[in-house]
Structures are given as C-alpha cells and as structure tokens.
Amino acid sequence: MVEIFLDNVTHIYGKEVKALDNTTLRIENGSLIALLGPSGCGKTTTMRIIAGLLRPTSGRVYFDNVDVTERSSQERNVAMVFQFIVIYDKTVFENIEFPLLVRKVPKEERIKRVKHAAELMGISNVLSQQARRLDPGTRQKVALARAFVRQPTVFLLDEPLTNVDPQTRLELRKIIKELQKDLHQTMIYVTHDQAEALTLSEKIAVMKDGKMIQYDTPEALYDKPKNTFVAWFIGNPGMQFFDTSLKQSDGAFLLDAGEFSVDVSNVSGQLVKYGNELKLGIRPENVQVSSQKKVGWFNAKCTMVERVGNMYLLSLSKGRLEIKAKIKETDVREGDTAWVQFPSEKVRVYTKAGELII
C-alpha cells in the first residue's frame, strides 16, 4: 500500500547492455498500473529493481518517500508472482503459510490468514493437497495467495497469466482487479498483452528500449499517444501513418500525402513551426468509409475485406498508398471503389521524428 517512485533509474547489465535508461516513474498509492512494451524494453528489469532483486546501476527507489534502494526484498515487504509458476514441494496450505512461517507469525494467526487468503482465491478446498500436483491455473492461484497473505507493500506481477489456461485467466483477472480495489493495494503488472493491460490497469507505462515513453491512462494512450511508437503499439491494429508535407493552397493549409490531402487550416499556426515534413496518423477504427460518393471525401480502391471479430478490416489502396479501415458494417466489397474521409478531430499529426503535435 505504498507509493512508489523511481528516480532516474538506469541499469546496465554486464558492461554494455543498457536495460533501463534514466527512467523516472511515480506510481500512486493503491493504483494498479501496467508496464507494457515489446520484449527487451526493460519492463522486467524495472520490476526486479522495484522488487529488490536487482540493484540499479544508478538512480534511487522510494517507497512512500523512503529510500529503499539499499534494502532487501524482505525489508521492502514486496510480493512477486512470476510467469513461471513457483510452487514449493509442500501442500497448498504449507505453501501459503511459508512467508508467515519465516516471519515467525504465531500459529493461530497463521492459520487464520492462510485460510482467508485461500478463500479469496477460491482454493479452500485443496488446502491439504500437494500443491505441485494441481493444474497450472490452480497453482498460480496458490502463488497469488502466498503473495497476498503477507499484506505486502506492493504486489508485483510479471506476466502471471501467460502459462495459465484461458478459463482461469479470466477468473484470475477478475480476482486481481477485485483484490486491488477492495484492499487499495498498489500493484504493478508486467505484460506484453495489450488487451490485458488496457482492461486491468488504471494507468499504463509504455516502455521501449529501456525508456519510459508514456505513462498515462488507457484512454489517453489511445487518444493522444505521445509518439508514433505508442500510437502504433496500442490498438489492434495500431495507428497508421502517412508521410506528408505541409502545403499552402488557395489560402488553406493542407497536409499532402501525395495521393490525398487533409485540410489543417484551423491548426496551421501550431504546425508551421515544426517544418514541412510531418507525419499524419489515424487509427483504422476512425477512418470513415462509404460506398457512396460524398463531398470532400476522396476515393480509393478496396483491395481486401477481412473479418476481424465482429468488425471488418478494409484494405484500401490509392495510388501507392495503402489505407486500413476498421468498421462495423459496410457494403463495400473487394474490388469496389469506396470513398474515404479522415475526420479532422481524429487525425493526429506528428513530427518527422515522431513526436505528437496535435
């Protein structure tokens, strides 16, 4: 139940591998945040530094304004659940009891707390069984119970649901969310599964190459991604980009992608100072497509229609450019000519380097 603050933490493995590069992160007390990013982005390293398994090459770690960088995991009272389901060769009860046993908690209280934790996880009925013989889903529940029974300062979960069957996965997601809400527990969740991160967490830290790119609520990440990487990474599929140049024509400012242009006169003032070459981004979900010709829309040829879940993913080509659109219903068929529009409020403009302008 603490606030965690990472101050300029850098970590280098061996001589060269920079796993974390000057990362600063503040996690509010009682919040569930996710660390999201492609493999190798540094999320597990961050996790382990917070846990106390790793001492950062430079930078400090604070729990509630107390510098814990030099302290062991035990002293920080963190709990960690791993992707590899860790179970000791004992009964379920003894597994959950272990941390309490180590801390010499008196027997009566131990029994009480273990039973409580088991109940929360829904595993009270297997307390006397050998934990290693149970199925992965149940075993991970045991691991969670063991982590929880200690009333830790922070709960660290490193892709805990990867090795669990889908059914239990949903169950566990619910349990984790509830636990966090009811107990106001600070939780950090590492995952490479966007959907999980988006549904579970209050805030997400998107990381890449050891740097924290953006730390925001899911909505903000979706709507206003700070750079092209985040924009592309979030979403299924992510945002698409077109290289454009800022042009002036008949008094209006246009972003010209070659095959089509978008009017940006109303924000031209903000754009001008970033030079001529800008990137235009729009999410496939926001692209408007119609089989009827509409004013101001441009035409494109539909090359493919795929069904994705309950939506259609259309591939439209105009000249050398390809546009993807994801819409619920359409009467556009493959080979048809369709009319496309990018609603201006959904358009995002990025610098050539990838930073968000509007």
Binding site: A51, G52, L53, S72, S73, Q74, V78, A79, M80, F82, F84, V86, Y88, D89, K90, F98, P99, V102, R103, A143, R146, R150
Partner: protein, 290 residues
C-alpha cells in the same frame, strides 16, 4: 515370397545380443544356486549336501559378524557421504568463482582405480610413517594404529569410502540443483527465507527423486564393497574388515570351498535383490522417468 517386414527384421537383429545377455546372466544365477546345495571343494567332486551348506552358513558366527560389519559399514559410510556431500553442494552453490576448479578436483577420487586407492591409503594409514597420523598430530590428536586394531581398521575403510564417493553425492546433487529454475530461489528470497532455509526447505525437496537415486546407488555399492578394502586390509586385521564380498571371496579362493562359497553367494545375491527391491520403489521410478 513375402518379405519379412523390415521392422521385424531389424528389431530381431538388434535384440539378438540380448540373448547373450540372458545366457550370461541367467546361467550364473542358476549355477550359484545349484552349487549352493553341494559340498564341493576345488579339486574334489561335488557331493550333494542338501541344505547342509545353508545350515552351516546360518550357524557360522563369522557370517553374522560379517553381516553386521557390512551393514554398519554401509550405514556409516553412506550417512557420512550424504551429510558431507550435500553440505559441499551447498557450499558450491554459494560461491561464484572456483566452481570448475572444485569440480575438477572432486572427480579425482571418483575415477581413481579403487584398488589403487586402497593401496595409497594403506600407505597413508601406516601407523609409523603414514601421513594420516602425522597430520592428526598437528591438530593434537594422537596417532592411531589404523590398520592394526580392529575398530580403527573399520573406521579407516569407512574413511576411504567417504573419500572416494562423497564427490559423487556432491556433484550429482549440485548438478540437480543447477537445473532448478531461478525463480524458485527468487521467490523464496522475496518470501524472506534465509539462504540455508531456502536450501533445506525449498531446493532439496525439489530434487527429492534425485537424492533417492543417490541414496539407492550408494547403499547398493557399499553393501558389495570389495576393491578398496581388499587391497588395503585384505579383510583384516583378523576379520575386522571382512565384509560380505570379501567373506565370499575368501571362502572361495583362499579356502577353496566352492560349494560353501556358492551358498554365501546365493544368500548375498538374494540379499541384494531384497535391498534393491525395497529401495527401488522411489529411486527406480525416478530413474525410469528420466
């Protein structure tokens, strides 16, 4: 004409050697049991003796003495090897640099010809000039008449066994431990367990099967110990270190009682079978699983 299916033919060829195996194993078994009922000395002729040999065996005080010695030897040696061996494995786990040097040194006792080891230790245990007494005197323990007095001789054989086989326990345990996932240790660390506790309550239970196998192999081997003891003490002084194998050998080769020798052998083989059966439930299952 129909060709024999290739599968059957190659299988057949591959397993023919097994017949050699059966023959060479079954024949001795049958033979030993057969002759155990005979009174037969080398150079003489076998005379059927019914269970006469067996009666002789079970009324032979030396037999019981031997049995007792063998069991004590086994328990003492294996016990020490386990404690010492696992302890060393613990040490190895907690150091980072010298591991390959340590493992190289540790295999030396294992590959040394047991018979030769017996000879070397024989020299070292010499009461007058042996180095064992010398080093003991350095730490204040007076020299013992190692190979001269019965109890000391017994202990010296145990020491040699411990010397030769503790590395086995250590290296196998260590190998098993290194295959365990690192998250196991990390989780225990986060849970707050000390290094020792982690070792005892988390890691060792995980390699329980392996430990059974080690135990199993060591017990079997100590019960039939022969090489080192024979070259070091020859079974003496007197019969102080005459373990089952040596007892069997002496009756056969020194006293030339083949019949009686077979009786002993039959009993011994039966004993080993029983021990193997009892112990193999846990160990064998683990072996077959690999």
């Amino acid at each position: 004409m129909k060709k024999m299916s290739f599968r059957n033919k190659t299988l057949f060829i591959a397993l023919i050697p097994m017949i050699y195996l059966y023959g060479l194993v079954i024949y001795p078994f049958a033979s030993v049991i057969y002759y155990s009922f005979f009174s037969y000395d080398i150079g003489g002729t076998p005379v059927f003796n019914g269970v006469g040999n067996y009666i002789q065996l079970f009324t032979d005080t030396q037999f019981y003495r031997t049995l007792g010695l063998t069991l004590s030897y086994s328990i003492l040696a294996v016990g020490t090897e386990f404690l010492f061996g696992i302890g060393l494995a613990y040490l190895l786990m907690h150091i980072s640099r010298g591991r390959s040097v340590a493992t190289s040194i540790l295999i030396l006792p294992l590959v040394m010809t047991p018979a030769v080891a017996g000879i070397i230790w024989r020299i070292m245990f010499d009461a007058g000039f042996g180095h064992v007494n010398f080093y003991l005197s350095l730490i204040g323990i007076p020299g013992q008449k190692w190979l001269i007095r019965p109890t000391e001789a017994f202990i010296s054989t145990v020491i040699v066994d411990v010397w030769q086989w503790t590395p086995f326990v250590t290296l196998v345990t260590f190998a098993g431990l290194t295959t365990l996932p690192v998250e196991l240790v990390e989780s225990a660390y986060i849970d707050g367990a000390s290094e020792f506790r982690t070792f005892k309550d988390i890691l060792l239970p995980r390699i329980r099967a392996l430990l059974y196998i080690i135990l199993f192999l060591r017990v079997i081997d100590t019960l039939k110990i022969f090489d080192t003891v024979y070259t070091m003490t020859g079974g003496g002084p007197g019969t102080a270190t005459t373990y089952m194998s040596i007892f069997n050998y002496l009756n056969l080769m020194t006293f030339y009682h083949i019949g009686y020798g077979c009786t002993i052998a039959a009993f011994f083989i039966l004993l080993m079978n029983v021990v193997v059966t009892i112990l193999s439930k846990k160990a064998g299952a683990a072996l077959f699983a690999t």
